[in-house]
Every structure is written in C-alpha cells, then in structure tokens.
Symmetry: C2
Subunit: 328 residues, 2 copies
C-alpha cells in the first residue's frame, strides 16, 4: 500500500517534496496544505487537493506522513508540535541551538497523539549530522570540521536585501581552499571563522543609491558579514536573474583522527555534497526519512526521533536481502 504523504506549506521545499515523491514509487501525494487561498495555489501533480491549512484536521486518517515545509524561525516551532498530535510528521528544523527544545516539544506532542515524528531532517542538520556522528564514533580521537558551500545562503541574501537602497541580492558562502587542504592534511588546524569561509555578494542597487554606503553596510554587518572576508559586486537585475537564479549549495564534513600504539597513523574521513538545488536535495532526504517515520508508526514506536535513531534500512523500500546483496 502506497504511503500517503501530506505537504504542509508549498514554497521551494514543498515543491521539492512534490518532485521527490514522484521518484519514490511507494509514495503518493495525498494533499497540499497552504495558508494562502487554495484556489490560487497551482501544484504540479494532477488530481491532488490543495487545502486550507486550517482545515488540516479533516485529513486525519487520510495522511500517513505529514511533511512540514515551513521555516524554522516562526513556522515549525508552532506547527510541528501541533501537527504531531494529528499525524506522523517530519520537519527540517535547522536552528541548531534550538534543536533540543524543539525535540522535547515535538516528542511530547507526538507521544500524546500516538504518532511517530522526526525533526531536523535534511542535509545540515541531517546527512551532515550523520556523517559527523559516524566519523566521531569510528575515530574517537580526532577533530571535526564542517565547511559549507559553494552555495547560496538565503539568510545572508535576505540580510542584504533589507539594506536601504538594495533592490535585490544573492549571497554565496564559499569554503576557503587552503583551509580545506590544511584540514585534509591531518594537521588538525584551529581555524577562525574568517579562515574557513568567504562571502561573495551580488547586489542590485536601486537607482541613485550610494554604492559605497551599501558595500560598507554589508561588510560591517555584525554576525552576518563582519567576521568574514566579503566581496561585493554590483550588477543589474538582468544579470542577477541570468547568472544567479539557481539555489545551489553543498559542503564538506571532514574528520581527521589518529590510531596506533603511539598514535602514529592518520586517517581522513570526508563526506561532501555538491548540489544544484538545495531545496530539492533537502526534499529528497526528507522523503527517504518519511518512509522511516511511516515504519516507526506501523511499529507503534511513538515520539520524536532524529536521524541518529533510525536504522538505515528503514529508509529504503527495497527488501533487506536485496540491499545486503547489492550494497553491502
């Protein structure tokens, strides 16, 4: 029987989920939920209802796993616990510092509702977390490094757009090659924020805006840019659209560690992603873990889990014997 998926929120991530479902023949899109006027939301899958978010309770029993596609700042902290009372759920909550609190809230709600739940699924948190974890379990004496990029940071792009005189902007986070090489060498360097990543900004200014002031406001912005070497390019709206309309991302998780009677042997474990579309890859990860949530639900294993709790085999629709034969 097909796993009936609900999509709660139809932005870039929701659209990615819709595409990912089509690549997983054991799943069906059951409904899309939106806070907008449903008659104005056109989805790509024929014959699937678009439903007002406030009517979601009517879908209890018709959705096997609800995938939450809202933002981590204000949507998910409210939505995931609320929906975990009604459905098995997965989200991609990515505010690292608030994960323990979110986990506790969703866990309580999911247990109350008798549902399986997962939070913080995607690539970071998600696949990067798994790789940090496996590498640290295997090499207990070592150092972890995570680099992001080259890729678009929505948060940093938004921060630039809020500057007076900026019409539009796109910001790329770029790992510093020499830092990557130093890490891979096994030297276990201590790296400052500035040494790990640079930031490159493509900015469309409003007519007559003071470019020097904008550039200075970007480069000195606390938290976002002040601690980085930042480059600012002013370009036209046409150039921005032509050259920077994609949402690529990626990065590197590297652990170096030592073994041996005298710690004489170095080892380097490296995991990297190079993604043409950040939201589509995130969606692909979420959909695989939605399968695990469905399985946990069928086992009566309620409460909120993270990627660390899930036996890998739960991600696949294929029989275990085939996986052992072909992939072990």
């Amino acid at each position: 029987m097909s796993i009936r998926i609900g999509i709660y929120g139809y932005g870039n991530l929701g659209k990615g989920i819709e595409n990912a479902i089509r690549q997983n023949p054991d799943m069906t899109l059951a409904a899309v939920f939106t806070r907008r006027d449903p008659s104005k939301v056109k989805i790509a899958t024929p014959n699937v209802p678009v439903v007002l978010a406030s009517d979601v309770e009517q879908y209890v029993g018709k959705i096997d796993v609800m995938i939450l596609c809202g933002g981590s700042a204000t949507d998910l902290p409210e939505q995931t616990p609320a929906l975990a009372k009604l459905f098995p759920v997965v989200d991609s909550f990515d505010t690292h510092a608030n994960i323990p609190a979110h986990l506790a809230k969703v866990d309580e709600a999911a247990k109350q509702g008798g549902h399986a739940a997962m939070i913080s699924v995607g690539w970071d948190p998600g696949m990067f977390s798994l790789n940090r974890f496996y590498a640290s379990a295997v090499l207990p004496e070592g150092e972890d490094y995570t680099f992001w990029g080259k890729g678009v940071s929505q948060g940093h792009s938004d921060a630039i757009r809020r500057i007076d005189g900026v019409a539009d902007a796109k910001q790329y986070t770029i790992p510093v090659d020499s830092a990557l090489e130093a890490v891979r060498s096994g030297a276990a360097p201590t790296l400052t924020t500035r040494q790990k990543h640079t930031r490159e900004c493509f900015v469309v200014a409003e007519e007559g805006a003071d470019l020097d002031r904008i550039e200075n406001e970007i480069k000195t912005m606390p938290n976002y840019f002040a601690d980085y070497d930042t480059t600012v390019h002013f370009i036209t709206a046409e150039e921005l659209k032509r050259d920077h309309s994609g949402i690529p991302h990626g990065g590197f998780v590297i652990r170096t560690g030592k073994t041996g009677a005298n710690k004489e042997h170095n080892h380097v474990i490296e995991y990297s992603l190079k993604l043409d579309s950040n939201p589509e890859f995130t969606s692909s990860v979420i959909v695989a873990f939605a399968r695990a949530v469905n399985r946990l639900q069928s086992e009566g294993n309620f409460g909120c889990k993270t990627v660390f709790d899930i036996p890998p085999i739960y991600l696949s629709a294929k029989p275990a014997s085939e996986i052992v034969k072909n992939l072990l």
Copy 2:
C-alpha cells in the same frame, strides 16, 4: 560497567582491535585467543590472558563481545557461526559474493545461542556500504561508483609473491583521476575495469631470476592483473622495507543523481577515506559496532545484523542528548 571484549586471532587486525579498545574508555580487553602456542604470543596490553583458541568455551560469561579477526577465505565461514553459539560476535567478513550465505549461517547460530551478532563490519564492507546505501536511498535516480585506493592490496601482493623467482612484493591499487573526475561531473559514465583503477607493483626478485618473465607473468595474470594497466618496478629488499612497509588504503564512494520536475538538477554525494593503516581503521569501525552488538544483546535482540540494521546512536557511548546537542 565496562564492555569486556575478546579478540579471536592476533594478526594485524587483532592488534588493531587491541589499540582501538584503548581509545574507547567504556571497553576492556578481556582475553586474546590464538591457535598458536599462547606462551609465544606477546600482546601489548598488560595482565590480559592469551588463551588457546580451543579453550574458548571456558570464557563463556567472561566476554561481552567476541571480535573475530581471522580471514574471510577459510577462518570466518567456520569460526563466526561456531562462536556465535557461545558469545555475541562481530566479524569483518569481506567476500562480497558469499555474504548472504554467511549471514544466514551466523543468524541461525546466533539465534540458537541466544546472541546478537554482526558480520561484514569494517570500511568495505562497512562504512562504504552505509554510504552507498544512504546515497541511493536519498537519490533514487542515479548511479553509484566505488573506487579503491591508493592502497595496498594484500591479495594482489600475495599473488605476486607466489610467482617463481619473486622474493617479496607489494601491490598498490590506484584509482584513475580522470575516471573520478568524469564521475564527479555528473556525466554518469560507464567505466570498464581498466578505466577505473591501475595497479602498481614493487617486486623484489630472487638473485638471477628472469625479470622479463616475472613482469610478464604479473601483467597477464587472469582476474588479478590482466584487466588492468599494470606497472612493475623491481627494487631491492631494503627499498621495499624502507618505502613500502606501511599498509595504507582508502577510496571513494560517489553517487550522482538527478532531481527536479524535468530532472534538470544534478547532485553529487561523495564519501572518501584516506587511511594510513587499513587494519587499524577497520578495527576502529569494528570496535564502534561491537558497542552496538553489546546493546542489542542487552535488549535480547538476537540473530545476525549488518550495518544497515543498526541505529547510528548505538555506536556511541555518549548520551543521546549530548549527541543531539553537539552533532545534529
């Protein structure tokens, strides 16, 4: 309470396990079992008994997890099922084609004995298998590639040593850079055996041996070398000892796949290892999974598992809350 580990077989892998245990404070080496005369086997850990393998039954109740360190050709197919009747066990069985049969035999024995068991733990099979699996679950439409090296292949080194006139030899398996680049480009190339890896041999010939004949016998050896571009260097015993006494290895698991409404987005997932010591890294992986076996045993979850079955969190001695906080 410390997890009491038994090492069954004290070669390179057994010594690696002994070192790895020292890096995991929740574990203790309880005993080393050997088929040799125990009085002649000197181990590195003080006050730990070296016991004749045939006396292993006397250690029932004194070992929490037995780690089998024999070879896949003849040792493990007999030893792992036999010992799974007596102890929770882990092995690193790596004859890919025979894994399903070995799994079935160990599963039956472990269930009969009331023990948890794992087979085929290490880096390939092991961490590489996990990465092939996760990547294929996340990107269902794509292609998998595994490259090995640069590293020493014991099997190929042994094959050269069996040639008449060869005193000693070391063989390196080397991935072809242009093939790696073609895979990373997302072009999903079809690669022949010859296109993926080259083989480099360092050979010490006996005095007066016919070097041309030896080189020709190596390069034309079926299965081992005939399908590869092979380079042979004749060197002295001193040079072999000085420059080629390590056992480095490593490799790459790469999956490329597509997503999007029209499959317009490419993604590349890459996992790589660069290891100074193949047996010590394999040991480090095994020891982490031994912790999982101990946990399965305490849950009464008997029978034989593979890396695909184990919730990642079972590999760690750290509390889940700490892992979520620091690594998610």
